[in-house]
């Protein structure tokens, strides 16, 4: 068993896991953070996407021990008690999700994109979402929502973003 400590959504968390445990399994089974999903377990579908040290990764392709000492952000860490993250707000308004299973992964990839590129073009958005499969929606409204968030920040650059 390995002792793993990491900061998850701003909180220091420790777990004892078998060495072969992936970060995804640790989040879901040990920390009860079931927002990140297991869609394929081999890094193809992106439903497990989380951010580690500011970069979006497939948590199913990372061992929990590799995330030891790192900062992890999951879907559960996007909103605060006071408000939704603008991406969550716009996804809701635009109707970007249907069954919702791919949602957390897409939102994390979208956040990772906007963190690096606050004003992405449509091809750049598509490229950023290439690792997140969705079988329900066709992605159109996700792209619209991301563009709307970028537009929001563009219009009010001084507005404090949630995360």
């Amino acid at each position: 068993m390995a002792e793993v400590t990491m900061t998850v959504n701003g909180e220091r968390r420790t777990a004892h896991v078998a060495p072969e445990t992936t970060l995804l399994r640790m989040l879901r089974d040990e920390l009860q953070l079931t927002g990140s999903k297991l869609g394929c377990d081999v890094g193809d579908c992106g439903a497990c996407t989380v951010m580690v040290d500011g970069k979006s990764v497939n948590s199913c392709l990372m061992l929990a021990v590799q995330a030891d000492g790192r900062e992890v952000l999951t879907i559960e860490g996007l909103a605060t008690k006071e408000q939704l993250h603008p991406l969550q707000q716009l996804f809701e308004e635009k109707g970007s999700l249907q069954c919702g299973f791919c949602g957390p992964g897409v939102l994390m990839s979208a956040k990772a994109l906007l963190d690096e590129n606050p004003d992405p073009t449509e091809p750049e958005i598509r490229d950023a979402l290439a690792g997140n499969l969705c079988r329900c929606t066709g992605y159109t409204k996700m792209i619209e929502a991301i563009q709307a968030v970028a537009q929001l920040r563009h219009e009010r650059p001084a507005a404090k973003s949630v995360a």
């Binding site: 390995a2 078998a18 060495p19 072969e20 992936t22 377990d41 081999v42 890094g43 193809d44 992106g46 996407t49 970069k55 979006s56 990764v57 497939n58 199913c60 392709l61 990372m62 061992l63 021990v65 590799q66 990839s109 990772a112 994109l113 490229d127 950023a128 290439a130 690792g131 997140n132």
Partner: protein
Amino acid sequence: MRAFEVFSAKDSQHAVALLAQHAATSKVKVLAGGTDLLADLKFAPSSHAPAVVVDISRVDDFRGIRKTKEGLSIGSLVTHTEIMNSPIIRDLFPALVDAAHTIGAVQTRNLGTLGGNLVTAVPSVDSGPTLVALDAVVTILGSGGKRHMPLAEFFVGPRKTALKSDELLAEIIIPTENLGKPTHFLKFGLRKGQALALVNVASSIWVDWEKTTFKAARVALGAVAPKVIHATSAESFLEGRPITREAMEEAGKLAAGDARPISDMRASAEYRKDLIAVLTRRTLEGAYALAQAKRTEK
């Protein structure tokens, strides 16, 4: 995934020592970015499963992109995202940026390493052709010390490299004489992202501006033979040849002849040969366009 023990290496010496220690008694696998290894192990039968995994993801001396007296050194743990964002690589080798961009998706590129991509050594290895076209050399670190070999020889066959059981790929060096050599890479997959290459082509050329002829042209092909290969007939043909579209088209046809593609569920061998001809011409055009742009810059 089946149970295994994990030993995390602190530095390169430690990594080599761990490998040497465990490879003697157990089935050992090396873990860097995990995008190939862990994906492989998820549904692997017990016969395939390692007992020990040596995690080298924190070995900092395998990181970094810098100019050395040998040329441009890229650490084996440099991720594909880091390659895409590196100012040196963007300046000297936009083709490497292009190649990195064709790998997987953002999430895979953030974790996946150049070294891992090369060591997995599938015939369609995306980062292979560009580096082979640039005559890249690899540095291997083992319990016996360091050794070097051309990347083209490092690839032995499908999923097989020249690494011994106690060795690690440490760095990839593009030799000084090739720094800034105009190179273009194209991948053809059935999708724009997260796709295996049907065909990969990289063309790298110098231009003799006095005569406007090809100089030291290199054309490397991927996914059309057991490993990355040089299109030697195309390369011989191009040497000293005036740079024209006809010459590029002819080189394409010759390159198709050099390849030994297979027919599989993705495409027929015939289709792959067609692709090689077209992509060779296009990458030669791209390399030449780059050469012209660099010339006008000066």
